[in-house]
Amino acid sequence: MFARHFFSLAGLVLAAIPAYGQDLLDPEIAFRATARLVRPDLIEVRYQTAPGYYLYRDRLSYVLEPAEAVLGKPKLPAGKTKHDEFFGKQVIYRNLSIVTLPVAAAVDTPLTLTADLQGCADLGVCYPPVRRKFTLSLSAAPAK
């Protein structure tokens, strides 16, 4: 009796709270990224978006240092297509997406990878571009 009343009223009260009251995540949590050096000539970057968040493929970019370590063309996953009236068809990534980056001239590690990304939440907000930096060396744990 007591429990039934409690949950029915609590349910009513919770239902009255606007749905948009739910928290939006900090970008570091909404868009997680890790990078590791798989081989001296190959970097793997893993993106993990929180449910309800996505990244734009065309706003991923990479810079590798030192300059002698030349980055090849990134191999990007297919992703999903999102259409909007301004930018047309955009490829977006949700959940886990893995990008591989060939390193054209292998050099002594450690390498520093700078990765820019930008994404949005389905709730109707977008986050500004953010920059992540990873220090990469062979046989090390993934950089976070």
């Binding site: 007591f2 409690f6 919770l14 948009y20 909007d84």
Partner: protein, 181 residues
């Protein structure tokens, strides 16, 4: 006795749930602000004081529009929901401009991109170029996560009466103007 205790627990649970809901709503997404504290006044003052170039390159601050009902919209050209609501702001500026409402856009963006966008959309209210400094400014008035669009409404006395993370609907703006005009 059991019933009295049940009611008391139900009321307490209800009050707690409601206060959590309102607090979350107020802090995270948008809401009418019934009161303001000293820190909030200071934050609004930093918004009024910040100087940014307009599209002609003239250093301007929001203080130039003190005394108006100000709708300050933080946005960027790379933000799709920001672009979606701007045609509504243009219409409302046209409709309410003569009654003392002034929209101002603060772009977390570069001047050349904002100029192109402004020309394409024929934006009829001032745009200031804040670059990424605009995001710090938005933080001062409650946009903790720096997401866009983010809009605040200030009354004629410079009091913060509404803030909104995400698209600010036309009906909501009309209702706010109805109370302030």
């Amino acid at each position: 006795m059991i019933q009295v205790r049940t009611v008391a627990v139900l009321v307490a649970a209800g009050a707690l749930a409601l206060s959590v809901g309102f607090a979350t709503n107020y802090l995270m997404r948008g809401g009418d602000l019934a009161s303001r504290g000293t820190s909030e006044e200071a934050d609004v003052e930093s918004l009024f004081a910040a100087r940014m170039p307009d599209l002609a390159g003239n250093q301007t601050s929001l203080g130039a529009w003190r005394g108006k009902i100000l709708v300050v919209n933080f946005w960027a050209t790379w933000c799709v929901p920001c672009r979606e609501e701007i045609p509504d702001f243009i219409r409302l500026q046209r409709e309410f401009g003569g009654k003392g409402v002034q929209f101002v856009g603060i772009a977390a963006d570069q001047a050349d991109k904002v100029t192109l966008f402004s020309n394409e959309f024929q934006i009829n209210y001032p745009l200031l170029i804040g670059n990424y400094g605009a995001l710090d400014l938005a933080k001062h008035v409650g946009n903790r996560i720096s997401a866009l669009p983010f809009t605040v409404v200030l009354d004629r006395n410079g009091r913060l009466v509404h803030r909104q993370l995400g698209v600010l609907e036309v009906d909501k703006l009309r209702s706010i103007f109805g109370e302030l005009l």
